[in-house]
C-alpha cells in the first residue's frame, strides 16, 4: 500500500517533466520559424585581387592577391598598396574595412586623403599603434572606379614581416560582423577564464592551510592572466573599446606574468622541492624583463611588441623545460604530477601552435581549439588543487583527532592525566587568577570492582563523570587522574562560590546508597606564593580527611 501511494508521486514528476519539456520544445520549434531580417545584411565582398605593392616608393609587385607577407628593410619603411575601386560599388554608402597590426594608415581615394590613423595623442618616443585592429573607412558613392591607395608605416621592428590582409568592401555593419563574428567564442572563453580566476582568488579566503591557499591563489592568478590574454587578443573587444594599444599593454603584462603564476602553481601544488624552487626563481626573470623593456620603451629604444616574439619563445622554452622536468619526476614516481603533465602538454601544445602561427605571420581567425585546450588544462589543474585542499583538510582533522585522543580519557570523556599535568604547568605559569581545586575519590571502588566486575566499575565511573559535568559551571576543567580519582579545576572562582559548589557535591555524593565519594577542596591563590602542586596536595589532604570521616560514619552506621 505504501508503495502504491509513493509510486504516483514519482510518476507524476516524470509526467510533469515530459509535459513541460514537450511544450517547451514545441514552442521553440514554432517560434524558431519566425522570419526576422538579420542585422548583418551580408553585403560584404573581399577586395583582394589586383593590388600593386610599393615599398619606400619603389614598385615591388603588381597584380598581387592579398593576404601576403612583406619584408621591409627598416622599422620606418613605408608600404603602399594601390588598386582601383570597383564600379559600381557593392552597396551605396560603402565602407572599406582593413585589419592592420601596429601600423599607421592613411587612405587616399583619387589622390585625396579620406582617412588617417597615426599615433596622435600618444607621447611615446617611438610611436605605438597597438595590436591588430580593424579600420573602417567610408567610401563616398562617387568614388566608384577611382584609384585607391593605402599607405602604411609600421611601428613594429623591421625584422617582423608585415602581414597585409585583404580589405573588405561593404556596409559598415556587415564589415563589423565579418570582423567580429569569428571571435565571439574568444570573448566568452576569455570572460570565463577571468571569472574563474577572480572566483578562485576570492575563494582563497576560505582555505585554511597556507600551502593550499597559495596553490589556489596561483591558480586563480593563472586563470586571470590567461583570461586577460584571450580577451585582449581577440577582435571582439573592439565592440567595447576602440583603442588598440591599451589591450596590447594588458596582453604584454599577461605574457610576462604567466611564468610566475605557472611556477607558483607548480611549486605550491605539487611540492616538487628543488625543481619548483628553481622554476619559481627563473620565472622572476620575466617580470624583471618586463620592467627593463618598459624602461627601454620609455627611452624610445624598443617597443614591447618588438619583444613579443622573443618573450613568447622564451615562455615556450620555459614551459617546455617545466614539462620535461615534471615528466622526469613523474617517471621517478611522483604520481600526482600526472595532472600537471597533462595540463601542461595541452597548454604547451596550444602556446606552441600560437607561437608558430605568429612567426609564420598567420593571424588566427579563430582560436577556439586553443582556448578549448586551455580550458581542459585549467580543469585538470583545478582538480589537482581541489584534491590537495580536501586531503589537507583530512590531515588537519586527523591531527585534531589525535590531539583529542591523546588528551582524553577514553572511558569518561574527561581530560586524562597528560592533560592534567599540562594544565598544572599552564596555570602555574600564568599565575593570573585564583583557582579552585576539588579532588574527588570514590570510596571502596576497588572492593566494588572486585565484587561486581569491571563492567560495573566502568559504568559507575561514567555515571560520576556525567554528573560532575552537569554540576560544574562552564569554563571548568575536569580530569580523571587515576583509577577512581577525579580533579576539578575552577579558574577565576572565589572562596564563597567554591564552598557552595563543594556543599552541593557533598549533598549529592555523601548520602547515597550506592556510591560514596570523598571530596576535598582548596583555593589556590597565586598571590600567596605557593605552588600549584602544594595546593593540590592540600586539596588531597582535605579529601583524605573527608574519606576518614566517611569511613568513621559508615562504621558507626
Amino acid at each position: 500500500m505504501a508503495i502504491g501511494r509513493r509510486c504516483p508521486g514519482w510518476m507524476l514528476f516524470l509526467v510533469g517533466a515530459i509535459c513541460v519539456l514537450s511544450l517547451f520544445l514545441v514552442s521553440v520549434l514554432f517560434d524558431s520559424r519566425l522570419q526576422v531580417e538579420p542585422i548583418d545584411d551580408g553585403t560584404c565582398v573581399l577586395f583582394d585581387t589586383g593590388w600593386s605593392l610599393f615599398v619606400d616608393g619603389e614598385l615591388k609587385a603588381e597584380e598581387m592577391v592579398l593576404p601576403m607577407s612583406v619584408r621591409v628593410p627598416r622599422r620606418s619603411s613605408v608600404v603602399r598598396i594601390d588598386n582601383m575601386l570597383p564600379d559600381p560599388l557593392p552597396t551605396s554608402n560603402a565602407c572599406l574595412s582593413i585589419g592592420l597590426g601596429m601600423s599607421l594608415l592613411e587612405v587616399f581615394v583619387d589622390g585625396v586623403s579620406v582617412y588617417r590613423f597615426d599615433a596622435e595623442g600618444s607621447p611615446w618616443r617611438l610611436p605605438f599603434y597597438g595590436g591588430r585592429m580593424p579600420h573602417f573607412v567610408r567610401i563616398a558613392d562617387d568614388a566608384a572606379g577611382k584609384p585607391i591607395s593605402l599607405v602604411m608605416e609600421s611601428s613594429a621592428a623591421s625584422f617582423v614581416s608585415r602581414n597585409l590582409s585583404a580589405p573588405v568592401l561593404g556596409t559598415k555593419v556587415s564589415a563589423l560582423f565579418m570582423h567580429a563574428n569569428q571571435e565571439w567564442l574568444s570573448l566568452f572563453f576569455g570572460f570565463t577564464f577571468s571569472i574563474v580566476g577572480i572566483a578562485c582568488l576570492f575563494g582563497v579566503v576560505f582555505v585554511k592551510r597556507v600551502e593550499d591557499r597559495r596553490s589556489l591563489k596561483s591558480f586563480g592568478a593563472l586563470e586571470l592572466v590567461l583570461g586577460i590574454w584571450v580577451l585582449t587578443q581577440g577582435r571582439s573587444k573592439f565592440l567595447f573599446v576602440r583603442n588598440p594599444a591599451v589591450p596590447m599593454d594588458f596582453s604584454c603584462l599577461a605574457l610576462f606574468l604567466l611564468p610566475v603564476c605557472l611556477a607558483g602553481f607548480y611549486s605550491h601544488t605539487y611540492r616538487t622541492e628543488k625543481s619548483g624552487d628553481l622554476f619559481l626563481r627563473i620565472s622572476f626573470v620575466f617580470p624583471v624583463a618586463y620592467c627593463v623593456i618598459g624602461i627601454l620603451q620609455l627611452c624610445g629604444v624598443l617597443l614591447y611588441c618588438d619583444t613579443l616574439m622573443f618573450a613568447g619563445a622564451a615562455l615556450g622554452l620555459y614551459v617546455f623545460s617545466m614539462l620535461l622536468v615534471s615528466i622526469l619526476h613523474l617517471a621517478r614516481g611522483a604520481r600526482s604530477l600526472l595532472s600537471f603533465v597533462v595540463a601542461l602538454s595541452l597548454l604547451f601544445a596550444s602556446v606552441l601552435a600560437d607561437e608558430i602561427l605568429l612567426v609564420e605571420g598567420v593571424v588566427l581567425d579563430n582560436a577556439t581549439l586553443l582556448h578549448l585546450a586551455m580550458t581542459i588544462g585549467g580543469i585538470v589543474m583545478f582538480g589537482q588543487s581541489l584534491r590537495n585542499i580536501t586531503s589537507g583538510n583530512r590531515g588537519e582533522i586527523r591531527d585534531r583527532m589525535l590531539f583529542e585522543l591523546a588528551y582524553t580519557d577514553a572511558l569518561t570523556g574527561l581530560g586524562n592525566r597528560a592533560l592534567y599535568d599540562k594544565k598544572i604547568i599552564e596555570l602555574e605559569q600564568e599565575r593570573k587568577c585564583a583557582t579552585g581545586i576539588i579532588v574527588a575519590d570514590i570510596n571502596d571502588f576497588k572492593v566494588a570492582n572486585d565484587a561486581f566486575g569491571h563492567d560495573h566499575g566502568d559504568h559507575v565511573l561514567q555515571e560520576i563523570a556525567q554528573e560532575l559535568r552537569e554540576m560544574v559551571p562552564p569554563g571548568v576543567f575536569l580530569f580523571r587522574t587515576g583509577g577512581d580519582e577525579f580533579v576539578i579545576m575552577l579558574p577565576g572562582i572565589d572562596a564563597r562560590r567554591l564552598a557552595s559548589l563543594e556543599s552541593e557535591l557533598y549533598s549529592r555524593f555523601h548520602d547515597t546508597e550506592r556510591i560514596v565519594v570523598a571530596i576535598g577542596s582548596y583555593l589556590y591563590a597565586p598571590a600567596n606564593d605557593e605552588s600549584m602542586i602544594d595546593a593540590i596536595c592540600l586539596a588531597d589532604d582535605a579529601m583524605y580527611r573527608d574519606k576518614a570521616w566517611l569511613k568513621g560514619r559508615s562504621r558507626q552506621g
Partner: protein, 654 residues
C-alpha cells in the same frame, strides 16, 4: 642515530606516521608563528606527538600535539608526504622555522611595484591614442510631430513620442505618421524602432519598405516575441516624404502599449544606441549561467546526498537566472535575431523558478513541513505552464499575456517563503538567516522588476538589480559551501574513526579485529600464494615486569618500526596479541619467503644489541593445497620451534 635516520628515511618516503626515540630534554617555545626547540638540561619533553609541517618551499613549522611522556620514551612524529627530508634529519632536533634561501618578501614586493608602475605608465600613455570610434554617433531621436491613428481613427496629432496608448482589443492596428526630414541627417540612413510583440509595416510615400509579421509562425494567435529593435533602411529619395509605421500588437489588450520614439541615423549608430546600455546584462547573464553550469557539473562529486541536492538545485537556480538575464537583455540580438525563442526560454524559467527555489530551500535548510507546502505550491506553477501552453495551442492565450500575472504570483510566493522562513528563524532555525537575507534582496529586486514591468517602464540598464542578485546568490552559495564542508568533515571523521578502530595505536599495524577480517577475506577469495610470517618477541613479559610497561611499549615500538623497514611494501602486518605478530606477504614464493625470514631473524638475533630477540616462523599458503587457518597454524608451529631453538642456544651459551 643511524637507525633512526633509516627509519625516518623510509617512513618519509611513504608519508604518514613515523615513530622515533627522543633522547635528552627539549623545550618548545612559541613566538608568534615561530616554534623554537631548545635543548634544556632540566625541563621534560613536553610532548610526544610532533607535527612537522612544511609551510612553504623552505620553511617548516612544528606543532606539539600531545604530551605526558618523559625522558627516553617514544615520541611520535607525524610527517607530511614529501617533506624536505635531508635538511630536517641533519638538523635533528634543532628545529626552527628555517628561513633558507627564499626570495625575500621585500624584493618580490619591489618587483611587483615596479611592474605595476611601468604598466600604469604604458596604460596612461596608450589611453591617449586617438582612435575613430566605431559608433559615429550620427543618430538623432525622431520624436516630434507624429500623428497617431488607432483603427484608422485619429487619436492625436503633433504628438511627441514615447506615448502610452490604451488599446480596446488585441490586434487593433496603430498607425503613426510623420514627414521625414529633408535632407536626411546622413546618407544611407536607417530608422530604428524598438517594439514588443507587435507586427510592423513601414511605408514611405505610400510604398512599403519593411514588413515584420508572424508569417511563418503557425500559432493560432500570432506570436512576435519580446522587445526587439527593428532597423529599416531609409532610401535617399525618401527625404521630405511621408513615413507611416503601422503596428498591430499580439499582447493582451489590457496592457497599455508604449510607442517609443524611433531614432534616425546610420545603422551602426542606431545599433549601438540600442545595445550600449545592455552590455553589462550580457556579462552578468553569462556569469550567472556559467556559475550555474559549473555548480551542476561539480555536484556529482559531492558525497552526501543532501549536499549534492542543494548544490544541484543551487546550480539550476543560478542557471535559470542566467538564462533570464541573458534572454531579457537586448544584446542577445547581436548573436541571434529571432525575438520569440528567447521569450520561450524566459517563460519556461519563470514558471520553473518556484520549483527550483523550493527544492533548494528543502535540501539546503531542512525546514521540515514548511518545505512540503512550498514544493506543492511550486508544482502548481509547473502545471500552470502546461495549461497555458495548451491554451496557446488552441489560440486563446499567449504565454506572454500571463507574464505579469505569473511575475506577481512569483512575488507572492517569495514573500510567503520569506515570512515562513522568518517564523522558522524566530523559532530557532539559525541557518535560515542567510536564506532570509538573500531572499530579502532577491524579493526586493524581483518585486521592483515586476512593478516596473506592470507599470510599462522598460529598464534601460538593470545593472544594480543584477548586482543585488549576485550578492544574494553569493550569500546562498556561502551557505551551501558551509554545509558541504561541515558534512565533509563529519564524513572524514567517521572514516578515520573506522580506520583507527582497526589500527593498533602503539605500532601502527593492524589490530586483532583487522587480522580476523583479513583472514576471513583471504580464506574466501584469494587465489595467489601468500607468505605467512608468525613472530613473537622473546622475554617481553620479563622486560615489562622488571623495567615497567612504558619500557615494554618502547621495545614493541622499536621492533615494529624496524620490522616495517625490513618488510616489502605490499606486506600486511598485524599485532594480534601482546607480543605476537602476523604478517601476510602477497605474491611471494618459497625462496623469497626464506630470505625474508633470514633477514628478520638475523636482524633481531639475541646478540644484535637491540635488547630483545624475536622468534620467527613461516609458511606458504597456496589456496589449491590447503586452507589459511592450517597455514597460519603451521607458521605458528614453526615459530615455536624457532623459539625453543633460541632458548636452547641461550642456555647452551650460558
Amino acid at each position: 642515530m643511524m637507525r633512526r635516520k633509516r627509519i625516518l628515511d623510509s617512513k618519509m618516503r611513504a608519508g604518514g606516521l613515523a615513530f622515533f626515540q627522543v633522547k635528552g630534554h627539549y623545550v618548545l617555545d612559541r613566538r608568534g608563528d615561530d616554534f623554537h626547540y631548545r635543548k634544556s638540561p632540566t625541563a621534560p619533553l613536553p610532548s610526544s606527538v610532533i607535527v612537522l609541517r612544511r609551510i612553504s618551499l623552505t620553511s617548516y613549522s612544528v606543532r606539539i600535539l600531545c604530551g605526558g611522556y618523559h625522558d627516553g620514551i617514544i615520541g611520535c612524529l607525524l610527517l607530511r608526504r614529501h617533506t624536505g627530508r635531508r635538511e630536517w634529519i641533519r638538523r635533528g632536533f634543532d628545529m626552527k622555522r628555517i628561513h633558507g634561501r627564499k626570495l625575500g618578501v621585500v624584493s618580490v614586493g619591489a618587483l611587483a611595484l615596479l611592474v605595476f608602475l611601468i604598466f600604469s605608465i604604458s596604460v596612461t600613455y596608450d589611453s591617449k591614442l586617438n582612435v575613430e570610434p566605431l559608433d559615429d554617433r550620427s543618430y538623432q531621436l525622431f520624436e516630434r510631430g507624429w500623428t497617431v491613428y488607432m483603427d484608422d481613427v485619429l487619436v492625436a496629432s503633433d504628438a511627441t513620442l514615447p506615448l502610452q496608448l490604451t488599446v480596446p482589443s488585441r490586434g487593433v492596428p496603430i498607425r503613426i505618421v510623420n514627414t521625414l526630414p529633408d535632407p536626411l541627417p546622413v546618407s544611407n540612413s536607417c530608422i530604428a524602432i524598438s517594439l514588443a510583440m507587435s507586427t510592423l509595416d513601414v511605408s514611405i510615400d505610400g510604398r512599403p519598405v519593411y514588413s515584420f509579421n508572424a508569417d511563418d509562425s503557425p500559432w493560432k494567435l500570432p506570436f512576435l516575441g519580446g522587445a526587439m529593435p527593428h532597423f529599416v533602411r531609409v532610401p535617399e529619395w525618401g527625404a521630405g516624404k511621408e513615413i507611416s509605421l503601422e503596428m498591430s500588437s499580439t499582447a493582451t489588450p489590457r496592457m497599455a502599449r508604449v510607442v517609443s520614439a524611433p531614432a534616425l541615423g546610420t545603422k551602426i549608430s542606431t545599433m549601438f544606441w540600442q545595445l550600449d546600455s545592455e552590455w553589462l546584462s550580457l556579462f552578468f547573464g553569462y556569469t550567472f549561467f556559467f556559475i550555474g553550469v559549473a555548480c551542476l557539473a561539480a555536484s556529482p562529486w559531492i558525497k552526501k546526498i543532501a549536499d549534492r541536492k542543494s548544490l544541484l538545485w543551487f546550480g539550476v537556480c543560478e542557471l535559470f537566472l542566467g538564462i533570464w538575464v541573458l534572454m531579457e537583455g537586448k544584446s542577445k540580438f547581436l548573436f541571434f535575431r529571432n525575438p520569440a525563442v528567447p521569450i520561450d526560454l524566459c517563460v519556461l524559467v519563470l514558471y520553473l523558478a518556484p520549483m527550483c527555489l523550493a527544492e533548494f530551500f528543502t535540501s539546503a535548510y531542512q525546514p521540515g513541513r514548511a518545505a512540503v507546502v512550498f514544493r506543492r505550491i511550486s508544482a502548481l506553477f509547473v502545471c500552470g505552464y502546461c495549461v497555458v501552453g495548451a491554451l496557446q495551442f488552441s489560440g486563446r492565450l499567449l504565454f506572454s499575456d500571463t507574464m505579469p500575472v505569473v511575475g506577481f504570483l512569483l512575488g507572492l510566493y517569495l514573500l510567503a517563503m520569506f515570512v515562513v522562513s522568518s517564523v522558522l528563524l524566530a523559532k530557532g532555525n539559525k541557518g535560515l538567516l542567510s536564506f532570509i537575507l538573500a531572499l530579502a534582496i532577491l524579493f526586493l529586486s524581483a518585486f521592483l522588476e515586476v512593478a516596473l514591468f506592470v507599470s510599462g517602464v522598460v529598464l534601460d540598464s538593470v545593472t544594480w538589480l543584477h548586482v543585488s542578485l549576485s550578492l544574494c546568490w553569493l550569500i546562498l552559495f556561502v551557505q551551501v559551501f558551509r554545509n558541504i564542508t561541515s558534512s565533509n568533515r563529519d564524513l572524514i571523521r567517521e572514516r578515520m574513526l573506522l580506520e583507527m578502530a582497526y589500527t593498533d595505536a602503539l605500532t601502527g599495524f593492524g589490530n586483532r579485529a583487522a587480522y580476523d577480517q583479513k583472514q576471513l577475506e583471504l580464506d574466501r577469495s584469494h587465489r595467489g600464494a601468500i607468505g605467512i610470517l608468525a613472530m613473537d618477541m622473546n622475554d617481553l613479559k620479563s622486560a615489562n615486569d622488571t623495567q615497567g610497561h612504558l619500557f615494554g611499549d618502547k621495545l614493541l615500538h622499536e621492533f615494529a618500526m624496524n620490522l616495517k623497514s625490513l618488510l616489502p611494501e605490499s606486506a600486511l602486518a598485524y599485532r594480534i596479541g601482546g607480543d605476537e605478530f602476523i604478517v601476510f606477504v602477497e605474491g611471494c614464493d618459497a625462496s623469497e619467503l626464506a630470505k625474508l625470514v633470514d633477514r628478520i631473524v638475523s636482524n633481531f638475533a639475541p646478540g644484535a644489541g637491540s635488547g630483545y630477540s624475536v622468534a620467527v616462523g613461516s609458511s606458504l599458503f597456496v589456496p589449491s593445497e590447503g586452507d589459511i587457518v592450517s597455514s597460519i597454524r603451521a607458521a605458528d608451529r614453526d615459530m615455536y620451534a624457532c623459539k625453543a631453538k633460541m632458548k636452547g642456544d641461550a642456555s647452551s651459551i650460558r
